[in-house]
C-alpha cells in the first residue's frame, strides 16, 4: 500500500489567521493521546474552549460568584452585571433588537422544546401542520412529534436531494396547505454540512404568514448570523459548540411573540408577584428563565463571543472553508471512500463512509492514531435512512484546525484501509 505522505507544505492556508497564536489559546490541544499528538476533529459534537473562556468561568467562581437578580450585596450585583452583560453580547452577536429577545436555556434542545411547548401549546391545534426538513437533528424532530402527539397536529417533512440539498419546491408545496403553523429547520446540517438557503426559506414561509424557527446549533460558530436581516421568529443555538461552556443555550425570539407566549417552566426568577390565588409573570426575558441559571456558564459564553469577535467570523469562515476544501480533496483520493453531503453551499464538516468498513471501526482506529472524529448516526437517523447507511464517520473543523491535522486524518484513513485489507 503506497499511502501518500503528508504534503501540506503546498500553498499555506490562504486565510490570514495566526494559527499558532490561536492554537496557543487552547490548553487542551497540547496533549498527546495514545502517544500521538491530539488531532481534534469532532468539533461539530462539541468544540474545545479557549483559555479566555476557562479563565472567565474561573474568575467568576473565585472572584465574584453569587446568585443573580436577588441580592443587594456586592457579589450578587457583580454576578448579575456580568450575567446580563453576557446577554448584551449575545444580542450584539445576533444583531437582535433588544436583550429582552435573548433567553438563556440549557442548550439548543431546550430552546426548541421551549418553543414547541409554549408557542406550540398555545397555537397548534388538531389538524394543523408543522413543516421541518429531512435533514434535521433529532432535537428538531422529537419536540415537534411530541407536540403533534399532544395536539393531533401533523408533522410534514421537506425532502432533500442525493447531494444533500433541500428541494425548495417541495418545501414550498408543503407550506401551501393553509394549515401550517410553524416551519422549523436547520441552518447548517450536522450530518451533511449543507448550508440551507434560510433567508429564502424564511421569506417563503412569511409570504404565507407562517412563523419560522431556525436551528442554528451548527451555524453560529461558522457563519455570521443577523436575526434582523433573516427576520426569523426564533433562532436556537448552544454555547458549547460556540467555544463557550456546556450547559448553556440561547433562544432568540421576536419580542412580540415572546410576550404573547405563556411561560415554559414555573418557579423562581420568572415571577413578579406570587399569591396562592394567582401569579403575575416577570417581564422578558426572565419570564422564560425560571430558577437559578448556569451563571458562570453564561458569563463564559460572553467571554467566548469576545474571543471569537476579536478573530472575526469572516476570517474563521475563510480558514475553515480552505480546510474543508483541502480535506475533501485529500480524502477523496482514498479508494472506495464516499463523501455524504456534497451540497454546493457547505461548511465545516465532511461525513463519509468507506465501503464495507463500519464507521465505528474507522473511529476506533483513528483514535489510536490520535485523531478524534465522530462515528455514528449523529442524532440524525432519518438522514442515515435516506442514504441507506447505518452510520457515517464525520470529521468536523474548528478555527484551530490546521492542514497538518488534515494530513494526519488522511494518513490514519490509509491505515484503516491497510488494516482491513491485509
Amino acid at each position: 500500500m503506497n499511502a501518500p505522505l503528508a504534503r501540506s507544505t503546498t500553498p499555506v492556508a490562504r486565510s490570514e489567521l495566526d494559527l499558532a497564536r490561536i492554537r496557543a489559546d487552547f490548553p487542551i490541544l497540547r496533549q498527546r493521546v495514545h502517544g500521538k499528538p491530539l488531532v481534534y476533529l469532532d468539533n461539530a459534537a462539541s468544540v474545545q474552549k479557549p483559555k479566555a473562556v476557562i479563565d472567565a468561568v474561573g474568575a467568576c467562581y473565585s472572584g465574584y460568584y453569587a446568585n443573580i437578580h436577588r441580592g443587594v450585596h456586592l457579589l450578587s450585583e457583580r454576578s448579575t452585571a456580568a450575567y446580563e452583560g453576557a446577554r448584551e453580547k449575545v444580542r450584539a452577536f445576533l444583531n437582535a433588537a433588544s436583550v429582552q429577545e435573548i433567553i438563556f436555556t440549557r442548550n439548543t434542545t431546550e430552546s426548541i422544546n421551549l418553543v414547541a411547548s409554549s408557542f406550540g401549546g398555545q397555537r397548534v391545534k388538531a389538524g394543523d401542520e408543522i413543516v421541518i426538513t429531512g435533514m434535521e437533528h433529532h432535537s428538531n424532530i422529537v419536540p415537534w412529534q411530541l407536540l403533534c402527539e399532544h395536539t393531533g397536529a401533523v408533522l410534514k417533512v421537506a425532502p432533500f436531494t442525493d447531494a444533500g440539498e433541500l428541494i425548495l419546491e417541495e418545501y414550498e408545496r408543503l407550506l401551501d396547505s393553509g394549515r401550517v403553523k410553524l416551519a422549523a429547520f436547520v441552518h447548517l446540517s450536522n450530518a451533511l454540512g449543507t448550508i440551507n438557503p434560510v433567508k429564502t426559506m424564511i421569506d417563503l414561509a412569511h409570504a404565507r404568514g407562517i412563523p419560522v424557527l431556525v436551528d442554528g446549533a451548527q451555524s453560529v460558530p461558522h457563519l455570521a448570523v443577523d436575526v434582523r436581516e433573516l427576520d426569523c421568529e426564533f433562532y436556537a443555538f448552544s454555547s458549547h459548540k460556540l467555544y463557550g461552556p456546556s450547559g448553556v443555550g440561547v433562544l432568540y425570539g421576536k419580542q412580540a411573540l415572546l410576550e404573547a407566549m405563556p411561560p415554559y417552566q414555573g418557579g423562581g426568577d420568572m415571577i413578579r408577584l406570587v399569591t396562592f390565588e394567582k401569579t403575575e409573570y416577570a417581564d422578558l426575558p426572565n419570564k422564560f428563565e425560571a430558577g437559578t441559571p448556569n451563571i458562570a456558564g453564561v458569563i463564559g459564553l460572553g467571554a467566548a463571543l469576545d474571543w471569537l469577535n476579536a478573530i472575526g467570523l469572516d476570517a474563521v469562515a475563510a480558514h475553515e472553508h480552505d480546510l474543508l476544501e483541502y480535506a475533501i480533496a485529500r480524502i477523496s483520493e482514498i479508494p472506495e471512500l464516499k463523501i455524504m453531503g456534497t451540497a454546493r453551499d457547505k461548511a465545516a464538516l465532511a461525513a463519509f463512509t468507506m465501503r464495507s468498513i463500519h464507521p465505528h471501526d474507522i473511529g476506533t482506529i483513528l483514535d489510536r492514531e490520535g485523531v478524534a472524529i465522530r462515528a455514528g448516526h449523529h442524532c440524525a437517523q432519518p438522514v442515515m435512512q435516506r442514504y441507506g447507511v447505518p452510520a457515517t464517520a464525520r470529521a468536523s473543523f474548528a478555527v484551530y484546525n490546521t492542514r497538518d491535522e488534515v494530513d494526519s486524518l488522511v494518513a490514519a484513513l490509509w491505515k484503516v484501509k491497510e488494516l482491513f485489507e491485509s
Binding site: H34, S356, I357, H358, P359, H360, D361, T364, I365, R368, A375, G376, H377, Q381, M384, P390, A391, K415, L419, F420, S422
Partner: protein, 147 residues
C-alpha cells in the same frame, strides 16, 4: 498499529468479512432483535431449540467488525449447546471483554475478542448479539438495547 492488531485480530477480520451462520431461520422457535442506540447498529438472532438444546442458530444485520465478528463467533460457540449453558457462557465472555481475567479455556475462539477490554466504548459492540440471544430466550418482544 500493533495494539490495534490486538483488537482487530485475524480471526475477527475473517469473521467480519465472512460471517458464519449469517442467514434467516425460516421457522425459529425463538428470535429477537438487538440495537445499539449509540451507532444505530441492529441485528436479529434466530434460534431453533429442541429439548433444551440449541439445534440451530443464525443472525442477520449490519454492524461494525467487532459486533459482526462477535455475533458470528457466538453462533459457532452456541450451536449444539444446551440452553442452560448460555447464561454461564455469556458471563464468562462478558468477564473476558470487560476485565483483565484470564480467558477460561471453555470459551474457545471467543477469546479472540479479549482485546475489546482496552476499548471501553466498544464493549457494547461485542456484547450486542449476546444480549439479543438472551432476549430471545426470555421471549421478549421489544428489541433489546445495549444501554
Amino acid at each position: 498499529m500493533s495494539d490495534l492488531r490486538d483488537l482487530y485480530q485475524e480471526v475477527i477480520l475473517d469473521h467480519n468479512k465472512r460471517p458464519r451462520n449469517f442467514r434467516v431461520l425460516p421457522q425459529p422457535t425463538h428470535k429477537a432483535d438487538g440495537v445499539n442506540p449509540l451507532c444505530g447498529d441492529r441485528i436479529s438472532v434466530f434460534l431453533d431449540i429442541e429439548e433444551g438444546v440449541i439445534k440451530d442458530i443464525a443472525f442477520q444485520g449490519a454492524g461494525c467488525a467487532i459486533s459482526s465478528a462477535s455475533a458470528s463467533l457466538m453462533t459457532e460457540a452456541l450451536k449444539g449447546k444446551p440452553v442452560k449453558e448460555v447464561e454461564h457462557l455469556f458471563e464468562a465472555f462478558h468477564n473476558v471483554v470487560t476485565t483483565d481475567c484470564e480467558c477460561p479455556r471453555g470459551l474457545g475462539k471467543l477469546g479472540v475478542l479479549a482485546g475489546v477490554r482496552d476499548y471501553p466504548s466498544r464493549v457494547k459492540c461485542a456484547t450486542l448479539a449476546w444480549h439479543a440471544v438472551r432476549a430471545a430466550l426470555e421471549e421478549r418482544k421489544q428489541p433489546v438495547a445495549t444501554e
